[in-house]
């Protein structure tokens, strides 16, 4: 598997260059195509019930897929450092849209999450914007985030503002997503362990308070606790129907298109919030494990891109995007198998839903763009208003790129960097090439940790 994924690295396809992560692109393609099939399968009974074409929802989904593809390709072309440069205006835009939602939003299904028309859910986009902003912010802080005054406290205030704006919608699941993702980035950026524990503790207590104070959420959570043991007998209708669908599927499923739980009147929103249950019923364990495998590959590729990025912002952003998408998938699947209370979280790339699909694909585009620069110097952030990558390489880039490339070349064994850049290889920070440049006696004294590091890197 690993080999198959790595083979693509050496290919040079089109303008995306040598390093773009074709394995990740393959995983995404599988998920999206599978998702489109399942959206059609899950939605056609409802479409027929509502006297529209059975292809109504899937065509809508394909239209959004087109938009998402533009977002993906665009994000993959634009050097990701542009987001670092634009993070503050983007964040302002996100906050404004959240505030505007409070006043202009339309109440659907008991929550104000979308603007009138129900088409655009700003919190989907805000998730990514917050990621970009936090990554920028943490990357700029450098070592200082260990200081509580520079690290935890501003971080907490920032998260408090954003999450409280989303909690009032109320959209607790999105809030959890953002906070957990932010904590992961915070951890990766080098937060002190005690700060992290403190932050996690504060977040947990806050959520506990929010959930118990919110009757809508507490009812769902208490219904869940009752029904984890025997979801089939749950008092909550959605849990019962979803778990029934999963159980009915069995190992091999009832066959594509044969689900009965998706029929109108059983499982609600089977093409978006509950699509995993339909997958479970129609494709069985085979299908559900395949989906989980695809997402596991996504984690693997995403984190690998992060580890190979030479830029702290790129690293943080890659981990953030990976975490965000995977956490969303985890919550979605957990709801379907009745270990999490029913929430309106979609399965990224698979579920029906315009905002969700476009945002996920855009985020994946950013991830792909970061992968282009692995082992290479990070692109300089263009100034605001200056779009696109700079075609020429500055001196600073050369130095940095050379340093990074020395590292990258060793690992991939297929360096495409121009010869001029390799001249800088010997000058390094010491920790880049620690693994191979130490003498034999040192090597013997390396710790187990470092050995496993090497294994992980070469595997």
């Amino acid at each position: 598997m690993t080999m198959a994924l790595q083979v693509s690295q050496v290919k040079q396809i089109g303008r995306f260059g040598p390093n773009i992560d074709w394995a990740l692109a393959t995983v995404l393609t599988c998920l999206i195509l599978f998702g489109s099939v399942m959206v059609f399968s899950a939605s056609y009974p409802w479409a027929l019930e509502n006297q529209v074409s059975p292809f109504y929802y899937v065509l809508l989904q394909l239209r959004w897929l087109g938009v998402g593809l533009v977002a993906l390709v665009g994000a993959a072309i634009v050097p990701y450092r542009i987001w670092e440069r634009w993070s503050i205006p983007l964040m302002a835009l996100g906050l404004i849209s959240l505030i505007a939602l409070i006043f202009l939003g339309e109440n659907r299904f008991g929550a104000t999450r979308a603007f009138p028309g129900g088409r655009v859910q700003p919190s989907e986009l805000v998730k990514v914007i917050v990621l970009i902003y936090i990554s920028t912010w943490l990357a700029s802080k450098g070592d200082r985030i260990k200081d509580i005054n520079y690290g935890l406290i501003p971080f907490g205030v920032l998260m408090g503002i954003v999450t409280s704006l989303i909690v009032v919608q109320p959209d607790i699941s999105t809030t959890i997503l953002i906070v957990v993702t932010a904590l992961i980035i915070f951890f990766l950026a080098g937060a002190e362990l005690k700060q992290l524990i403190l932050g996690g503790f504060v977040a947990t207590v806050t959520f506990w308070l929010v959930i118990t104070r919110n009757s809508y959420a507490s009812r769902r959570v208490s219904a869940l606790l009752e029904s984890i043991q025997s979801p089939l007998n749950s008092s909550e209708w959605q849990i019962r129907e979803a778990s029934q669908a999963i159980v009915k599927g069995g190992p091999l499923g009832v066959g594509l298109g044969n689900s009965t739980e998706k029929l109108p009147g059983n499982l609600p929103l089977s093409w978006s919030d509950n699509i995993f249950a339909v997958i479970g019923e129609e494709m069985g364990l085979l299908g559900t494990l395949a989906v989980i495998l695809l997402f596991t590959l996504f984690v693997y590729r995403g984190l690998r891109i992060a580890s190979e990025s030479t830029d702290i912002f790129g690293s943080l952003l890659a981990v953030g995007i990976t975490s965000l998408i995977i956490l969303q998938a985890i919550i979605h699947i957990a709801v379907a198998v009745a270990v999490a209370p029913p929430t309106g979280v979609t399965l990224p790339f698979v579920s029906f839903g315009g905002s969700s699909l476009v945002t996920s694909m855009g985020a994946a585009g950013i991830l792909l763009n970061i992968s282009r620069y692995r082992g290479l110097p990070p692109p300089a952030a263009p100034r605001r208003g200056e779009a696109g990558a700079r075609p020429h390489i500055t001196a600073g880039d050369r130095i940095r790129g050379g340093l990074a490339n020395a590292f990258g070349a060793k690992k991939s064994g297929a360096s495409s960097a121009p010869p001029g850049q390799t001249a800088h290889a010997p000058s390094n920070f010491g920790w880049w090439n620690r693994g191979s440049h130490i003498s034999g006696s040192r090597r013997r004294r390396t710790t187990k940790n470092q050995r496993s590091d090497r294994r992980a890197r070469s595997g």
């Binding site: 080098g190 984190l303 985890i330 920790w431 470092q450």
Partner: protein, 675 residues
């Protein structure tokens, strides 16, 4: 070494590392550490590199960065692994044990519009209720172009029987609607024709009627009209059963309901051939009633006549077989027609015979005397003195005619319906024993007849908080106590049946497919001893012969008792408003039926007394019942019976004659109520 390490690390200007610092320190301490070694080697270049760092902080110390990313990877894939375990549990273990949930059919109140219901027939197989299919015509005017309205209306008019213009207007007014009911109940033939024409047109690519929808819907049909309508109940527009048998047996009658309860089942062929004309219905369910259509017709007709004659407001007649508790007829007036319940007054939907309570009046004296005779407190010949009034705790009881008669024995006191002597008898019995008998006769509790909407009545016994000794006095002649007609007739039927109180029932048998479950008569209590019942029987015959002569039917011995109760209103008892009732059975020596006649508020200008209103109605109905039921007159019957030549009275006859009807042993009531 450590000191150097500390000075070096901040200069690195990146954030990774502190988390795992404790792990790395020992190495540092041991031999200088990898990091510091590396940094030392790079020392000459450090200044420029520091500058480089400040500009562009490098991502990480590679080792700790990989560690942290790996840790994130574990954090992210760990839940996925748990979810995989959960999925394995659900889709392998759970799947093997999974059984599709059973469709819950019991206890439902609403029935699907298309659910068909079983038929109900009387004891001779005459159809009383059945499903009939009618067609409903609906349209989607939104999809019909305005120019087609005329043509469609013209076509539909002939089927519906409404003027085309009216239908066209209906379309015009609702032209933007999705759903429009044009006609709810079109005859089966008309609907079939229209449906066939629509299909033909569609086949010919003529889409005029494309958005006209013709669908068959079952509709409950009561071929006998108002006959026994309150006993049957009805299905409302949503086909939800309302009251009566339809309600009580809803789970049995509906096609998706339950089958027969466990118990003794017979093959369907055991039933009478006539009964099986309509039973079972298409889906295999049916009820055979104990009701006799003819008896029901007789009592309804005579009740209507009696109410008209005595200008009463309402009335009730129940005819019952005392030996089994089977209801032969049950009628109330006013009533309604189940086929057009929409037009009926909702007040007429309730079956007054089981769900309205009234003060029974003098009829209740039977209970008092039966209790007294049963405990041998008095005898039929015991003499009491009527002083015209008796005062109990300051409450004065007078006779209904406000006169004093003087000395009277118990039998004559009954015949004259003497209140004062009844009070004295009740005092002889004592409150505890009196109320014990009242409850044993079934008052104050449901009779558990298989009809929906029964009430229990109200009996204030000695345990009641506001009970006083004067209550015993008034209750003894049937005032201050509330009973239902069905309770009253059951109590008197117990007297006619040798003291055995039977549970009343109205369904003779339930038919489900090829199996039949016949309702077994159930004895509730041996209320009074058989000898007491015979003495009561003689006394009631005496009452008819000397007091209520209008109840007599020539050639037959009749036993009974009339009762006139004043109606309690908020202002107390109103003189001229009475409930007149008569309960009797015949023939006295071998009761074939027991009958209750109750008239509410007969016109006092004619008579407010039961003896002149309810009693003649009883007589007329009894006369017709003797004919219908083929009961020979006493002289014929007694002379036929060679064993009873020597009897001089009914008491003696009973002692000689073998038990007329073998009454099955009492069964638990619960079994029958478990329908």
């Amino acid at each position: 070494m450590r000191a150097r390490n500390r000075t070096v690390r901040p200069a690195r200007g990146h954030g990774f590392g502190p988390l795992f610092d404790p792990l790395q320190r020992p190495e540092d301490g041991a031999d200088g550490g990898l990091e510091s070694g590396a940094l030392n080697r790079a020392a000459p270049n450090r200044a420029s590199l520091e500058q480089e760092h400040a500009q562009h902080p490098p991502v990480s110390d590679d080792g700790t960065k990989i560690w942290r990313i790996g840790f994130v990877g574990v954090v992210l894939t760990g839940p996925l692994l748990l979810l995989v375990l959960r999925l394995l549990d659900m889709q392998v273990m759970g799947w093997q044990q999974y059984e599709p949930p059973q469709i819950v059919t019991t206890g439902r109140n609403t029935v699907d519009d298309t659910t068909s219901w079983g038929v109900i027939v009387d004891r001779d197989g005459n159809l009383l209720a059945a499903d009939r299919f009618t067609y409903r015509i609906t349209a989607t005017p939104k999809f019909i172009s305005q120019s087609d309205y005329g043509a469609i209306a013209l076509r539909l008019a002939s089927s519906i029987g409404a003027p085309p213009l009216q239908i066209e207007n209906l379309f015009m007014e609702n032209s933007d609607r999705d759903y429009l009911i044009i006609a709810s109940h079109i005859d089966f033939e008309q609907g079939q024709q229209l449906l066939a024409e629509r299909q033909q047109r569609m086949a010919d690519r003529d889409f005029l009627l494309k958005h006209i929808h013709i669908a068959a819907h079952p509709r409950r049909f009561y071929p006998q009209g108002i006959l026994a309508s309150q006993v049957l109940g009805f299905l409302n527009a949503e086909r939800v059963p309302v009251l009566g048998l339809e309600r009580y047996y809803r789970n049995f009658l509906s096609s998706d309901g339950v089958g027969l309860p466990p118990g003794r089942q017979l093959p369907r062929s055991e039933l009478d051939e006539n009964v099986l004309r309509f039973v079972p219905s298409g889906h295999g369910k049916g009820l055979v009633l104990t009701i006799d259509r003819t008896i029901q017709h007789i009592i309804e007709e005579e009740l209507r006549l009696g109410i008209g004659l005595y200008r009463a407001e309402a009335g009730t007649v129940i005819v019952m077989d005392p030996k089994t508790g089977a209801i032969l007829g049950m009628a109330n007036w006013p009533t309604f027609d189940g086929n057009s319940f929409e037009d009926g007054d909702p007040y007429t939907f309730t079956n007054v015979a089981i769900s309205a309570q009234f003060e029974p009046g003098s009829v209740f004296k039977l209970i008092t005397v039966a209790a007294a005779l049963d405990i041998d407190a008095v005898d039929a010949s015991t003499v009491f003195v009527d002083t015209g009034a008796i005062s109990v705790e300051g409450h004065t009881v007078q006779n209904s005619d406000r006169k004093a008669v003087g000395e009277l024995n118990v039998a004559d006191a009954m015949a004259h319906s003497n209140n004062v002597i009844t009070v004295q008898i009740a005092q002889q019995v004592g409150a505890e024993i009196f109320y014990d008998y009242v409850s044993r006769f079934g008052f104050g509790a449901d009779t558990h007849i298989d009809l929906s909407g029964e009430v229990a009545g109200q009996v204030r016994n000695t345990d009641a908080p506001n009970w006083g000794v004067s209550d015993l006095a008034t209750n003894s002649f049937g005032q201050g106590i509330a009973v239902t007609p069905i309770q009253m007739i059951c109590a008197v039927a117990a007297i006619a049946n040798g003291g055995k109180l039977m549970r009343p029932y109205i369904v003779h048998s339930r038919v489900a497919g090829d199996n039949v479950m016949v309702t077994q008569p159930t004895m509730v209590y041996q209320v009074i001893q058989p000898e007491t019942a015979l003495r009561m029987n003689d006394m009631m015959a005496h009452v008819v012969n000397t007091g209520n002569q209008m109840a007599q039917v020539s050639g037959y011995s009749v036993a009974g008792k009339s009762g006139t109760a004043e109606i309690a209103t908020e202002e107390g008892y109103v003189q001229d408003e009475t409930i007149a009732s008569f309960i009797g059975y015949a023939p006295a020596d071998d009761p074939q039926f027991v009958m209750l006649v109750k008239l509410d508020r007969p016109d006092p200008g004619i008579s407010r007394w039961a003896a002149y209103t309810a009693t003649p109605v009883f007589s007329r109905i009894a006369h017709r019942l003797f004919e219908h039921m083929n009961i020979p007159p006493d002289n014929v019957r007694v002379s036929d019976d060679s064993q009873s030549y020597s009897c001089s009275s009914a008491v003696d006859c009973r002692e000689i004659a073998p038990e007329a009807a073998s009454i099955p042993a009492a069964e638990p009531v619960a079994e029958l109520s478990n329908r």
